[in-house]
């Protein structure tokens, strides 16, 4: 019998907590919510990048894992330019309800039994790309 979404999510959460327990990699910033966890990762050039990893329930048979990082305020990038940039290989720009750009990607929960290359490699790419876009768009390292 295949693992349930609860079991897959619990394993992914445990993997994230264990991985980010190594201070050379980063730290867990917030694990207070059952369906999301926020990490702060060290990225090259002494910079850091925060990423929220969340469980997304579409219906009882369909759940996803969302990776999302704030990369700048709405004014730092034109809407059309953001849509054109969304042809990137991994991730996409999205606007949240506060007028903030997120860099975001989702993965099908069903196929992410930890340890999962799909999850680990995608998380690493997303951390790197989010930090790159924040630096390019704002010149800052706020998130």
């Amino acid at each position: 019998m295949s693992a349930t979404f609860d079991e897959i999510w619990a394993e992914l959460r445990d993997w994230v907590v264990a991985f980010f327990a190594d201070e050379r990699i980063g730290s867990v910033r917030d694990a207070s919510l059952r369906d999301s966890i926020t990490v702060l990762a060290h990225v090259p050039n002494g910079r850091q990048q925060q990423m929220r990893i969340s469980r997304v329930r579409v219906n009882p048979d369909d759940e996803w894992v969302e990776l999302a990082a704030v990369v700048g305020l709405e004014r730092v990038l034109g809407h059309r330019a953001a849509l054109v940039q969304n042809q990137a290989v991994v991730g996409h720009f999205a606007l949240d309800e506060n007028g903030t750009y997120l860099y975001r990607h989702t993965l099908q929960m069903k196929y992410l039994a930890a340890p999962s290359d799909q999850f680990e490699v995608t998380l690493a790419r997303m951390l790197s790309l989010s930090d790159y876009f924040e630096q390019q768009l704002t010149g800052q390292d706020n998130w």
Partner: protein
């Protein structure tokens, strides 16, 4: 674990759906989306990065069909994929996945979902069924 290849993907797609077109590293499938509508959906090999990935993509309109700010807000809540635009103004709904460790069964869900949402987006602005 055997790593998935483009040939595996091509065989999987061909064994499950009629392929409407193919050029090297790109397959097009026409999905029925209900009520006589169809949606052309492509599977593209992206081998230029550090690890090969698949991009599933489906055009649903052109710039002007959807407010860019609204598209970016939708991108924040869609369960998979995102709305993108190309340099020629085509609006595309797309999602990417790593190829090497891909479970081919996950491709089935992703393809159908991209086709469904792209067709919904096309209907949102028009009753046409161009793509």
């Amino acid at each position: 674990m055997k790593l998935a290849t483009w040939d595996d993907v091509s065989s999987f797609v061909r064994s499950n759906w009629p392929v409407a077109g193919e050029v090297e590293g790109f397959l097009t499938v026409e999905f029925g989306t209900g009520e006589g509508r169809t949606q052309m959906t492509g599977i593209r090999l992206m081998s230029g990065g550090t690890e090969p990935r698949l991009r599933i993509e489906s055009q649903f309109g052109f710039e002007g069909d959807l407010d860019p700010a609204a598209a970016l807000k939708m991108n924040g809540v869609l369960p998979l994929g995102a709305i993108a635009a190309d340099e020629d103004g085509r609006l595309i709904y797309a999602h990417s996945m790593m190829l090497g460790t891909l479970d081919l069964a996950s491709l089935d869900i992703a393809l159908k979902t991209i086709a469904f949402y792209a067709d919904q987006l096309e209907q949102h602005r028009s009753i046409d069924d161009r793509y």
